[in-house]
């Protein structure tokens, strides 16, 4: 039962032009998301997961250059879409976004209600493409939607909340608002970029559960980036590990934790002292993207590297059911 792909990224390479040179932030990345699935994108900071999320949304920084590749969403290439079309019908509509930092992602100068109203004015599911006026009929229906959604994300006193300013509500509540705002346009895909990193540990779990439940109800897909393997374990269906701008391994969540095939994945899992704790170090340093090592990107830190790893980039190898790895010497076995 291979479900149809909602989004698939093929051979995507993105460079950032900096004063120090060209950083190869994404290097021939390939991966996909299916309908209704939660895909975890895991890796250390600087591995390219946030850049990948931004590339899909079409909001890469000004110094970025897409060198090659495709981002197919429902069969059409997002990279070839006219910018106005992407703004009108993709971002915040078909693909929406939950930011990393709920504290600074609201403007401090407008009430929460005002900011949600602006969003609904342009991104309500009721809005016809190109519609500029915000008629009273639509405004009324949108208001009901907003009220229902605020209830769904379990925010107390929605009426009062809309009158408040962002600095008057807590971080957890703000992130609930962000989730509500991401779901209000009824998107097909939600990109959640480290949505819990800025929050207290106790609140993190609640937010994750909420996200998972709401997504399952709406049938949307999620791309969830995190450096927290515990969080990924909680809510993901499949996981992709990224290392130095490339995907290292992709697997269903169970096989990922039971039978890691990439030495890097193995080390990541080994470095977890207990459940729910963030990554701790792996010997060696994340390589510079300005001047990445030749051959396999991971070989300087890999204990099982051989001659071939030093000069030849590994191809992606299928390891079994939906399990792919980019390594010359994948770890075999674990209980098949």
């Amino acid at each position: 039962m291979v479900a149809e792909k909602l989004l698939s990224v093929e051979g995507l390479s993105v460079h950032y032009i900096t004063e120090g040179g060209t950083a190869r932030v994404l290097d021939h990345v390939g991966f996909s998301i299916r309908h209704g699935e939660i895909m975890g994108l895991v890796g250390e900071s600087g591995c390219g997961k946030t850049s990948l999320a931004r590339a899909i949304l079409g909001v890469l920084p000004g110094n970025a250059e897409v060198v090659s590749g495709k981002i197919l969403f429902k069969g059409s290439d997002l990279l070839r879409l006219a910018p106005s079309e992407a703004e009108e019908s993709i971002r915040g509509r078909a693909i929406s976004f939950v930011p990393q930092d709920p504290f600074t992602s609201f403007s401090p100068l407008f009430s929460i209600g005002e900011q949600i109203r602006t969003l609904m004015r342009w991104k309500s599911p009721d809005r016809k493409p190109g519609e500029k006026v915000y008629g009273s009929g639509r405004r009324k229906r949108d208001r009901e939607r907003v009220m229902a959604m605020l209830q769904a994300v379990q925010l107390p006193d929605p009426e009062g909340l809309l009158k408040k300013y962002p600095h008057e509500v807590s971080g957890g509540q703000r992130q609930r608002l962000m989730i509500a705002m991401a779901l209000l346009p009824e998107p097909r895909l939600v990109i959640a970029d480290e949505p819990t990193t800025a929050l207290d540990v106790t609140i993190q779990a609640q937010i994750l559960k909420l996200l998972k439940r709401l997504i399952t109800e709406t049938g949307a897909s999620v791309l969830f980036t995190t450096h927290d393997l515990g969080a990924a374990w909680e809510i993901c269906d499949r996981i992709t590990v990224m290392y130095a701008g490339q995907e290292a391994e992709t697997a269903p969540v169970q096989s990922f934790f039971d039978r890691p095939a990439h030495p890097y994945t193995k080390k990541l899992l080994d470095s977890l002292p207990t459940e729910n704790s963030p990554l701790i170090g792996i010997p060696g340093r994340v390589p510079s993207l300005l001047n990445p090592p030749a051959g396999c990107r991971f070989h300087p830190r890999c204990t099982s590297s051989t001659e071939i790893c030093h000069h030849k980039q590994p191809d992606v190898t299928e390891m079994g059911y939906e399990h792919a790895v980019r390594c010359h010497h994948p770890i075999m076995g674990g209980g098949q």
Binding site: Y16, T18, E19, G20, A23, T50, S51, P61, N63
Partner: protein, 282 residues
């Protein structure tokens, strides 16, 4: 390498060129002037002549050569700008250092006094002082330094506050250095960059203020070739003598712009906190 860095910045380059020209003109005003004696003397036979080969920028109401007077005016401008700004720095910096380094009512009082000075438009205070003391160059300089010192006091106060708990200050304290030594030998070198930037831009502001005082008749008395006064004199002879105000006005514009450019450029080089970084890719 450092020179290349210095001149990669266009603002810094243009500012340096303009200010160098100003200094050269002031130093060599004598040889460069076509009628050096016109600074004090005049020639009633050539009143209000339009620019031409004999009088490059025309003549004024007394028949004096505007070009020559302009060159000697550069001397006056530098004299006023450097001494007035310098005095303001000499008053303001120690006050800022002391108030910033020590706590207590005296520091508080010093800062309140400078706040009050800052609460009144500088030119208005300068007018009052210059009028009290009488119109001459020393008094213009005095009036400007008395009204401008709080800018440096404020700046140095804020910078000292941010520095005084730094590790290097703690270390110096632990070594038994006296407060005076810490302030002068340790903190001052660390905040010198922002003082220099502020002083450069302050020169431009001082020149504009001095020109305004000159224009109002509170500057150096005639026949001093003061640029602001030259513009004021021209008003009687408009619109016929269009050249009369043009040259001194452009001179003021260029010099003030030169100092502002130089200050902006120096800020990029000297102030590491706001030095322009490379592209930040997240």
């Amino acid at each position: 390498m450092r020179m290349r860095r210095l001149f990669r910045d266009r603002a810094l380059l243009i500012g340096t060129v303009i200010i160098s020209i100003l200094v050269l003109v002031a130093v060599f005003a004598g040889p460069l002037a076509t009628f050096p004696d016109h600074v004090t003397g005049f020639d009633p036979n050539h009143r209000l002549k339009a620019p031409g080969w004999q009088f490059l920028l025309g003549t004024d109401r007394m028949g004096a050569d505007i070009y020559s007077r302009l060159l000697f005016g550069a001397r006056l401008t530098i004299l006023i700008a450097v001494t007035a700004t310098g005095t303001a720095v000499i008053i303001g910096v120690p006050i800022g250092l002391i108030a910033g380094y020590f706590d207590g009512w005296a520091s508080e009082a010093l800062m309140r006094v400078s706040d009050i000075f800052l609460a009144v438009p500088q030119i208005v205070l300068a007018i009052a002082i210059a009028q009290t003391l009488g119109p001459n160059i020393q008094n213009v300089i005095l009036a400007l330094s008395v009204t401008y010192w709080p800018f440096w006091a404020r700046l140095v106060y804020a910078e000292t506050r941010s520095q005084r708990n730094e590790v290097y200050v703690e270390a110096a304290k632990a070594m038994g250095a006296s407060p005076l030594r810490i302030m002068v030998m340790h903190i001052l070198p660390n905040i010198a960059g922002s003082i220099i930037v502020r002083t450069t831009i302050g020169m431009g502001a001082t020149i504009l203020a001095a020109a305004s005082l000159g224009f109002l008749g509170l500057g150096a008395p005639p026949p001093a070739p003061e640029w602001g006064r030259m513009i004021a004199e021209s008003r009687e002879f408009l619109p016929q003598a269009w050249w009369y105000a043009t040259a001194p006005g452009i001179a003021i514009l260029m010099v003030v712009m030169g100092f502002n450019l130089l200050g902006d450029g120096l800020r990029d080089v000297l102030d590491p906190r706001i030095r322009r970084g490379g592209g930040d890719g997240r």
